[in-house]
Symmetry: C2
Amino acid sequence: MNTTPTNTSTDFFEVVKSRRAVKQYDASYQMSEAELKELLEIAGRAPSSWNLQHWKFFVITDQDAKQRLLPIAYGQQQVVDASAVIAVLGDLEANRNAEAVFGPAVAAGLMSAEVKQNLVAQINGAYTIPTVPRDEAIRNASLAAMTLMLAARAKGLDTCPMGGFDAQKFVEEFRVPSRYLPVMLITVGKAAQPGRPSNRFPVEETIVWNRF
Amino acid sequence: MNTTPTNTSTDFFEVVKSRRAVKQYDASYQMSEAELKELLEIAGRAPSSWNLQHWKFFVITDQDAKQRLLPIAYGQQQVVDASAVIAVLGDLEANRNAEAVFGPAVAAGLMSAEVKQNLVAQINGAYTIPTVPRDEAIRNASLAAMTLMLAARAKGLDTCPMGGFDAQKFVEEFRVPSRYLPVMLITVGKAAQPGRPSNRFPVEETIVWNRF
């Protein structure tokens, strides 16, 4: 039974309000490669430092791969029942993207070769600071992850961001290259049970105005 | 001249597509505390590990504070001209939020005291792993940051995520407690010049299907 997902508003504010962490999925609901690609194209519209696009989406849809993921995700059945599990990986060597990002701008006459050269040198310099590769990988991949979760909701689908998995075993089992850091697993599919609403601290407690 | 921001669609997909990094703002455009609070309430709807809400929003609207920020942001005029600069801080000690997050669930009979006790112990255990406090601060604060940028766009406003600032000097100048890590500065306001569109890698290059 490949039913249509619950219709939902695409209004941004409704999308944010209606997003919940969904842990029970309709195991019969499949998403096509085209649908997944569309979601990931939207996710990739997120901004990133120097536009280096520090993300790689490792998409698990094969039943066999889901079964191998199950123990790594501590037995959480959602990784099997969801239409897909998207491992959002952060690029620890995103500085290597700089040429590909800025080259076309030079070719199109939008950036001088000298400006590009300075930018690439600046980026490579930043990447010699020990905290930068990992911080940037996590920061920017997370921006894409958030966009992905909201995009799925706007399509009437649901997601769950999962930090609870054995990252080391994940890397080993799926032979993730050392260039990439698993930042988050996101299940995506059609909810079988709605997610539970969760509270937030009062907004006033999260804001500091102008001075500590 | 406190003009209304350019009207925009609140359709999620339009919001994502129309978001650009805006670096030139109408310096006369002011946002009220209520408007900023509304944006930050939406940002805080982001998910977070264990719902610990690893974010604190340090909001700079005072002209004096903006001027002090200017050299720390390497002279980027947008920090002065934007209606506000929101420093999204990540909480390095978010495990300390666990009692406040789960206490009400126990009080409401939704969670047993034992489950809560186990969860809090699990969280405190995780926070003894050296990479966890910083990784979680960056990851979760970034989820809120992305939601904030999209929320501003849905309100017809614009933003720029800024990594280019001296984080150490920022912490000193604004006496940011050591509990918090500056994850990103976000300018928000009314665009004086539209942001430039930026390219992305073809989506196919960002996806790996089922196996590396």
